[in-house]
Amino acid sequence: MESNAQERLEAEWIRRAQQGDHEAFGLLVEQYQRRVFSTVFHLVHQQNEVEDLVQEIFIKTFRAIRSYNFRAPFGAWVARISVNHCYDYLRRKRSSRLNYYWQLSEDSRRMLEGGLEPQQRESPPSIEEQAVLKDLVKKLLDRAPAEDRMVLVLKEIENLSIEEISEVLNWSVSKVKVRLHRARKRMLADLKRCR
């Protein structure tokens, strides 16, 4: 009941924003900004660039809001704009942001060489080990092609279902499954190459 009222209210804000009402658009921004911040942060991994990117995404959203036709949920529509914007950003940045094995930290290298195997032990990894593992996986994600990164982040980090990813990326469900499997395999192959 409450969600219905919220949906009606949101639809009203969207209609007003479509007529150029900035205030109504501000209410939509307030509602979705945390989600967009999270998506952008996990896709880009550049804390100092997140806010600028999110601002650009919302400006793009406002410019395109007249073309929104209420078929998909507004959140998924905004997520699609966010992912596309980050994709363009990553493709632009990719050439200057290649990470190589020798750029991995000493601890990451040790982990790659099999010194730390988190699942093999009974005790959970310490905070330092968590940080090392995070650093390693972030570097592997940075090296991955932009499309692989999109699909992996949406599935493994943003925890979206396959159907939601297909809506956000405008791909078929089977294409999402295939790309996801391929992205995981490629990331594992990259890990092996670093070893």
Binding site: G20, F37, F41, E51, K134, L140, E158, L188
Partner: protein, 158 residues
């Protein structure tokens, strides 16, 4: 075949989601064992990244955004993207025009749309050249229709 299926299952459900026979296979197969170990490490790393809190929007973020929208007029017509798109279209249209002109110049001047070349030009046309010195025979004329009265002509030699 079996390794591929098990590796997919490992990605989707982890080792805990495998049946006892599949688990036995993983223990026996060095490829699958390595895959399970690497994937569990990556999955755990991805989980740690997911737990990392995303930065919060700074204070007044939406107000600044709305101010920027107001400054830009909101219509988006004066934005650089507009010029970029418009420029791209102009370049495309120019290329199409140039290509059409080149095509029109390269094609031979004949066809149903074009009229016959003018024979009164300075240079003699090919059909004129072909018939100028050729003899004309009676048999090459079409037959006379029946309704045309043909009177015999008598010649008086003097």
């Amino acid at each position: 075949m079996r390794c591929g299926r098990i590796q997919k299952l490992l990605e989707e459900k982890g080792e805990a989601g495998l049946s006892p026979t599949d688990r036995q296979h993983v223990e026996a197969c060095p490829d699958c064992r390595l895959y399970a170990r690497d994937w569990s490490m990556l999955a755990q790393g991805l989980k740690f990244i997911a737990q990392e809190p995303a930065p919060e929007p700074s204070w007044g973020f939406s107000a600044r955004l709305l101010r920027r929208l107001n400054e830009e007029g909101g219509s988006g017509i004066l934005h650089p993207e507009f010029y970029e798109n418009a420029g791209r279209r102009v370049i495309f249209a120019t290329l199409v025009l140039v290509f059409t002109l080149l095509l029109a110049m390269a094609l031979p001047a004949s066809g149903p749309v074009r009229h016959k070349p003018n024979v009164d030009t300075y240079w003699p046309q090919p059909e004129v050249l072909a018939t100028r010195n050729a003899p004309v025979y009676v048999s090459s004329f079409p037959p006379v229709p029946a309704w045309v009265e043909v009177k015999p002509v008598s010649y008086h030699w003097r």
